[in-house]
């Protein structure tokens, strides 16, 4: 049983310019007695999310939409457990799997096979767990003998095939996506589509950020519209998408 509860979450990113970044300057500040008082640190703060409250439960397929810079990716990162809210409370129950950066940690100098083990380990699988699935991963990627060649010999498409094959081996309870993945040539796309649908249906909660109306209407049963870091609307796909897209 998975659940996500956000209660009045706020995310502020402090932008450290050279005035506060270096310890030397801070010491000098203290020693000379200057620069006292609030907001005198020369620090700019970017408020990425404000007043974010919602509850997600099993079966929710949530789409995030909004203009560039609205806070979708930041919200996905919060959901992914990478950032903790600056204020407010976020409670996430369930195993999280993110398809946001499927190439993370891949080492171009080593072989495809070694990279499968690396990606697997980063996804939380032990070596033996990866070993059980490795043939399945290699078969899916259709890379054949290339899997024992260094990754730098691959084309971008082959690289993405490998990344996709190994990253989609997990079946998380909470699935996070930033746009639908479209990987490889036409014949591979069929397999990608099937695999992604499989992942989505086995996930208890899905959160996907997208700019595509068709995708959101097809995949989601709830849409959250973000604007300037705040939730503008939260409701059914039909209502929100007609409001957002205007038709």
């Amino acid at each position: 049983m998975a659940s996500i509860v956000f209660d009045n979450v706020l995310v502020d990113f402090p932008i450290y310019n050279s005035n506060t970044r270096s310890l030397k300057n801070k010491l000098i500040q203290v020693a000379t007695g200057g620069q006292l008082g609030s907001d005198k640190h020369g620090r700019v703060v970017v408020r990425a999310l404000e007043n974010i409250s919602f509850q997600l439960k099993d079966g929710d397929r949530v789409g995030l939409l909004g203009h560039n810079g609205a806070g979708k990716s930041t919200l996905l990162r919060l959901l992914g457990g990478v950032y903790e809210p600056t204020f407010g409370k976020s409670t996430i129950i369930g195993k999280i799997g993110s398809l946001i950066d499927i190439s993370l940690g891949i080492d171009p100098e080593t072989t495809g096979r070694d990279n499968i083990y690396i990606r697997g380990a980063l996804l939380g699988l032990t070596r033996s767990q990866v070993k059980v699935k490795i043939d399945e991963i290699i078969d899916f990627s259709e890379l054949g003998d290339f899997v024992d060649m260094p990754l730098r010999t691959y084309s971008t498409g082959m690289h993405m095939r490998l990344a996709f094959s190994v990253s989609t081996i997990i079946r998380p309870e909470i699935l996070l996506m930033d746009e639908w993945l479209s990987v490889g040539d036409e014949s591979f796309q069929h397999k990608v589509e099937n695999r992604l649908n499989d992942l989505v249906s086995s996930a208890k909660i899905l959160v996907i950020a997208s700019h595509s109306k068709e995708l959101l209407l097809k995949t989601c049963n709830r849409l959250i519209w973000l604007e300037h870091g705040r939730i503008k609307m939260d409701g059914t796909p039909e209502t929100i998408s007609s409001a957002y897209f205007g038709h």
Binding site: R21, S22, L23, G80, Y83, E84, D107, T110, L122
Partner: protein, 267 residues
């Protein structure tokens, strides 16, 4: 602040230890990357260490008029150990900074990044330390059971290094000048610690004795170095190392637990 911080640190560290295989894999990967497509690979470290020991030994041995059979083993284990300590602490400063990409994408326990760099440096040290038995054999040093004491000594050193690295990683993620300061301090400590010079050569004055006793690195190195050279570390060496470990870990656990949630924002 107190108990909650401890709980946060403890949870993160224990989760990281459960995923140690990830840290070990990444650490080993780091070493392999450096020596890709080279014939000797990491053993180049052994060769370069050997050359350095030989050269320094010959020159400084003559300057200090120390007999080679005492000075060279002393120097070689000192240099290998100091190399390990200094590299671990220097890389430790950028422990979180260098893993920025992963930290901002995957919710892996942060301590794993610390374990990764420790493991990487241990691997490199084991390649470097090959020089030491060779030096012992060349100078016909006898073997006894005493060197075995260096094993618990090494674990105590490691325990201390780990809290130092964690402490520095957190602090340096926020204050980007600190790595520079640490590098400079380490350079100074290299000269103040008996690595290139034997303590017996120092005139037996009060200030010199204090110089040794107040130097934490002297104690931390002695618990590993002394047994390997056939001597037992003093009770003071053990006391200081243990107390340093206990207080260091206490302070670091509080500090880490308190600031852990801010680290991703600092990067």
């Amino acid at each position: 602040m107190c108990l909650k911080s401890l709980k946060i640190s403890y949870t993160d560290i224990s989760n990281s230890l459960k995923q140690f295989h990830l840290a070990a894999l990444l650490g080993w990967q780091d070493v392999r990357q450096r020596y890709r497509r080279s014939v000797l690979g990491p053993f180049w470290l052994t060769v370069s260490m050997g050359v350095m020991i030989g050269t320094i030994g010959i020159v400084f041995g003559q300057i200090f008029q120390s007999p080679m059979q005492d000075f060279l083993p002393f120097l070689s284990i000192g240099l290998v150990l100091w190399n390990f300590i200094s590299n671990t602490l220097t890389e430790g400063c950028v422990g979180f900074i260098s893993s920025e990409a992963i930290i901002k994408q995957l919710p892996i326990p942060l301590f794993i990044h610390i374990l990764r760099l420790i493991w990487r440096n241990i691997i490199i040290m084991t390649h470097n330390i090959v020089i030491f038995p060779i030096v012992l054999i060349i100078y016909h040093k006898e073997i006894s059971w005493i060197p075995l004491i260096s094993i618990p000594g090494f674990f105590l050193l490691l325990l201390n290094l780990i809290w130092m690295v964690l402490f520095l990683s957190v602090l340096c993620a926020r204050y980007r000048d600190l790595p520079q300061i640490v590098t400079s301090l380490l350079l100074v400590m290299f000269y103040l610690t008996p690595i290139m010079w034997m303590p017996s050569l120092l005139p037996q004055q009060n200030t010199n004795v204090k110089l040794l006793i107040l130097n934490p690195f002297f104690h931390l190195m002695e618990i590993v170095k002394a047994p390997l050279l056939g001597n037992l570390p003093s009770i003071l060496n053990w006391k200081v190392s243990i107390m340093l470990g206990v207080f260091g870990w206490l302070v670091t656990m509080f500090m880490y637990g308190h600031y852990k949630r801010r680290i991703a924002y600092w990067l």
